[in-house]
Symmetry: C2
Subunit: 306 residues, 2 copies
């Protein structure tokens, strides 16, 4: 079997930290970002430009972004939910934006008080007016399943993609399993279905959650459907603070373990990554997840007790 | 896509309970076995006939087996590691044996002080001399990876299968990922590779662990390779008591959730199963695992707090 390299986008410093209620000191965030970079991470969603009232954890976005920009060879993206925050991020030096909109109307309204169509039109305008040297990716949240509306039909996603057409060339479109409730057949089904609707120059990515134990299985389904770019969060951070035990993003170390054991290079040093993840798991208020970190720690414990 | 029904073999009462150091009262075991049956489980590895000195937790095998036999429509299998224990189990009324031997020499010696070839010959003799009405399955432990020897080459498994030829007709051969370190490509690869070596009337099954987060992904790879029978343990019980955090068998509820969401019938009532798993997770000394149980509990908590 031929294998292709994959690129892992470490989203822990944004998606993993964001739901943690207690403020994480900015210097700790910056230290973890640097350790992730030292472990071989070359692309990272380092922070978000969002309302500091709604998401106080991201209030230090400008500082974290500056620190990430000082790391050599790191492609740093920042999340922005609206054009206004995109402009603010660009003003602070951001060169890679991740715009988010939800396929589900209820979820999009809940996030940004707009319909998906309104957000889509906003994205197209934004993508058409980016300053030189600034790139954008599009995160399509609830592309498979919504906490309010349940399963999302592929037709609904395709309709939105058709509306987004003029904004998509040169853009990476990331389908997000926000709830963790999708399954591998649905993942391959949706990537296959959208293929013919993507304009030239539009590439794809997958953002999965492990809440129901399908994080790795869904990522592999995406890989087999041709996806090479995967979001993941070190330590599996990203669970909902109001739902103890419900872990969040698929753990970066679980994906690295899996891909590397399958002979698919990630460019990431698993041991160094796990050291950073083990540290991040101790952040007060964090809901860590993933398996590989605890399994390897247990294996090391056994060896040292022999 | 066409889907096939699957059969889940609940192995928690054997593989899940066995590593728990504190004795589980026999009546609690029997109650949980009954609740699993009430949840729709129709095949179960209920206990093991093994040395009560080596595995005191299984010392009540005869009593648990009797109780399981009283449950209507339940196909009850019991694990036996040698011919001597097989005869003991049959003497106690067992009608479905699960013989275990390891593909890895080091692991088989560690378990039963025999080479895999000696155990294979013992199995062939045993399978050829079963009383009428007694069936046997063969669990091939460390079929992919061994805690002592690392990766097991498919050629090694095939050599063993060739040696087992005369014992395999009418037998279900279960490939076991004992360490949880195999990956979906290796799972499909091995099932594909052994196919031409299986005599008529020999069927296959898969027994996976979730230690490294690949439990569901590996089971789905087996499903796509044509496997219809899957071992799993309710509550994900089956971790090593000497390795805290290293969870064990793939959780039955995670497999049921996944298959049912993919439209693949399991015949199991997820809510009733989760109730039993939630109870089992409280057994003193248990190392519960799995995701679906905690994710659904968290979701219920959110609903009730609205």
């Amino acid at each position: 079997m031929t294998t292709r390299n994959v690129q892992i986008v470490e989203v822990g410093p944004r998606d993993g930290f964001q739901p943690i209620e207690q403020a994480i000191p900015t210097e700790r965030k910056i230290d973890l970002v640097a350790r992730l970079h030292a472990a071989g991470i070359r692309r990272m969603e380092a922070t978000a430009f969002v309302s500091p009232r709604a998401v106080p954890q991201m209030a230090d976005a400008a500082e974290v972004l500056d620190a990430a920009h000082r790391l050599e060879g790191l492609d740093t993206q920042v999340l922005v939910p609206t054009r206004r925050y995109a402009e603010q991020a660009i003003g602070q030096g951001a060169r890679h934006l991740a715009f988010v909109l939800s396929a589900s109307a209820a979820h999009n309204r809940n996030n940004v008080r707009r319909s998906p169509e309104e957000s889509a039109d906003e994205f197209v305008e934004l993508a058409g007016a980016l300053p030189a040297g600034v790139r954008i990716r599009l995160n399509l949240a609830t592309a498979f399943d919504c906490p309010f509306e349940g399963r999302i039909e592929p037709a609904q996603v395709i309709e939105l993609i058709d509306r987004l057409q003029h904004g998509l060339p040169g853009v990476e479109l990331c389908l997000c399993d926000t709830t963790g409730r999708t399954t591998p057949d649905a993942v391959s089904g949706l990537f296959d279905a959208i293929g013919p609707h993507l304009p030239d120059g539009c590439t794809v990515a997958f953002h999965g959650h492990d809440t129901y134990g399908l994080g790795v299985a869904n990522a592999l389904a995406a890989y087999h459907a041709g996806v090479d770019v995967f979001d993941a969060s070190f330590g599996g951070l990203g669970g909902c603070p109001f739902a103890p035990g419900a872990t969040g993003n698929v753990a970066t170390e679980d994906l690295v373990w899996t891909f590397e054991r399958m002979g698919i290079p990630t460019g990431i040093d698993l041991d160094a990554l796990i050291d950073a993840a083990t540290d991040a798991a101790t952040i007060p208020g964090a809901c860590p997840g993933g398996r590989v970190r605890t399994a390897l720690a247990a294996a090391r414990g056994r060896e040292s007790s022999l």
